[in-house]
């Protein structure tokens, strides 16, 4: 669960990225976070992943109070999240299997756990035959599936996808979004940051719209209302 209570974030250069944001995302939800460039979406994601700290208000993520989280607790908190990026961020010199095992080893998983979990996750994202391929040998859609598999491999409570379809064609984008929806149906909370109006409107999920550091709409079963922003 994520809770933002009157959250403010002002950077050292004086930029006020968030101005009193209130958002609550419960376990098991699928939420789109939309808004134009510079609206504060990235700041919101960075606050969730504890890359930055708020300058005002309270942020709670999966039971961790990020206002007074200790450096030692940050890795524990991040293990409850799986993050997917627009540019995939796969390690080019590692195979698909190694990219996943790398993520599992990062939290101290044993070889036995790797052997058990990775094939299951690869099957879930439809890449069970491509474990020995390098990222450069895969299409963009497949690379994003690997990134999703890596986000899932440590069995997080929540997936945060930051523009996951930004580098994909419409068909691959739809496939990725359907995969995320399926993951959500399996019980994982999903937060998708996107600009893709058609995709957002097609899935009929909760949509939180942010503009100029403020949440201007939060509608369940909502849509990307371009006129609003």
């Amino acid at each position: 669960m994520i809770r933002f209570i009157d959250v403010h974030k002002e950077y050292d250069n004086g930029t006020k990225a968030l101005k009193g944001v209130n958002v609550r995302i419960d376990d098991g939800e699928f939420v789109f976070l939309v808004g134009p460039s510079g609206s504060g979406k990235s700041t919101l994601i960075k606050l969730i992943t504890a890359e930055i700290a708020p300058t005002g208000g309270r942020v709670m993520v999966n039971g961790f109070n990020l206002n007074n989280i200790t450096p030692r607790q940050v890795p524990q908190m991040r293990r409850t999240l799986g993050v997917i990026f627009q540019d995939f961020r796969l390690i080019e010199k590692k195979t698909v299997y190694e990219n996943l095992s790398f993520a599992m080893r990062a939290i101290g998983a044993s070889n036995r756990e790797l052997r058990r979990r990775i094939p299951y996750v690869l099957q879930l994202v439809g890449l069970e035959q491509k474990g020995d391929r390098f990222p450069g040998q895969l299409s963009g859609g497949e690379q994003q599936r690997v990134a999703i598999a890596r986000a899932l491999v440590n069995n997080p409570n929540m997936i945060i996808a930051d523009e996951p379809t930004g580098n994909l064609d419409p068909q691959r984008s739809l496939e990725i979004m359907m995969l995320l929806e399926r993951i959500n149906e399996l019980g994982t909370t999903v937060l998708v940051v996107t600009h893709e109006k058609n995709l957002v409107n097609r899935f009929n999920k909760r949509v939180v719209t942010i503009e100029n550091g403020r949440v201007i709409s939060d509608e369940t079963g909502g849509y990307y209302n371009v006129e609003k922003i």
Partner: protein
């Protein structure tokens, strides 16, 4: 999931990184070798100088002249009292006859010299060697306080000269070793920093997956340790060759009997241990310095 200290993984990652960034690893090892050899050379110079000075110091004795009024037996009885004086290492009683014989032998039966022979030459005396020549003046004063001691002759200026030379040599060696250590740390830190820079994306991914700083640091620490150890081993053998060459030159070249070089093999274990210790220290501390910046994610 089970959480454990995965030493095998850290070592394998450390090894892998060394070969992935082969040129930088080679450069780092070369710099460690160079720094250790320069450090080692100065240290060995200081050790040999210390040893030579030690030999010369041990020959620097004091003479304690006994009051003429005492018989030879009474003079011998003074030995326990003199031995109790702090810093006295060794006492040798010399009778006035023996002293005269030594004197004549030394001056080759020169009649003119014997005519002007000073009175004290005929006194019974003790040759005294001390533990610490820095405290020679203090020991001289203490010996003069012992009843029935007429006076004490000590070459304080020579002793002070030895002490000054030794102290300067030690200070110069220490300063140079310190400077070279800092330079080595800087170089290895930059090498590891470069390796870390290449892998910043991996580090960011690991951090985002919930890896602890320790988990990320260990492979770099192992890498630094291995680079340091490799450099130390190469430096040890190179230093050996260099030392043998210098020792041969020192003996053959000027035939100075004063210079008594210690054999490398007698110090080999200590040198190897020090080189490995310094190499590993440079590698590990350098790695930790280098990686700190990249952990701020």
């Amino acid at each position: 999931m089970s959480r454990k200290f995965n030493a095998g993984y850290y070592v394998s990652e450390g090894f892998h990184s060394i070969f992935t960034h082969g040129f930088m690893s080679f450069a780092a090892v070369c710099m460690i070798v160079a720094c250790l050899i320069i450090m080692g050379s100065f240290t060995l110079l200081a050790v040999n100088l210390d040893n030579t000075l030690g030999d010369l110091e041990s020959e620097n004795e004091m003479l304690v002249y006994i009051d003429d009024a005492l018989t030879q037996d009474e003079a011998r009885m003074l030995q326990p009292k003199l031995a109790q004086v702090d810093n006295v290492a060794q006492l040798t009683f010399v009778t006035k006859e023996q002293a005269m014989a030594d004197y004549k032998a030394k001056h080759n039966d020169n009649i003119a010299v014997l005519k002007d022979l000073p009175d004290e030459a005929l006194r019974d005396r003790y040759r005294v060697h001390v533990y610490d020549i820095e405290r020679m003046a203090e020991t001289q004063a203490a010996l003069e306080q012992v009843p029935d001691v007429a006076w004490v002759r000590a070459a304080i200026e020579i002793a002070d000269g030895f002490v000054m030379v030794r102290n300067i040599a030690t200070a110069v060696a220490l300063v140079l070793i310190g400077i070279l250590l800092v330079i080595s740390l800087f170089i290895i830190a930059n090498t590891i920093k470069l390796a870390t820079f290449y892998r910043r994306e991996e580090i960011a991914i690991m951090k985002m997956c919930g890896a602890t700083d320790g988990f990320i640091e260990w492979p770099f620490v192992v890498e630094g340790m291995l680079l340091g150890l490799t450099g130390a081993l190469i430096a040890f053998f190179a230093q050996w060759g260099l030392y043998q060459m210098v020792a041969k030159f020192a003996v053959q070249g000027n035939g100075l009997s004063l210079v008594n070089m210690i054999s490398y093999s007698s110090m080999a274990t200590t040198i190897l241990a020090i080189f490995c210790g310094v190499g590993v220290f440079i590698g590990v501390v350098g790695s930790l310095f280098a990686i700190r910046k990249f952990l701020q994610v």
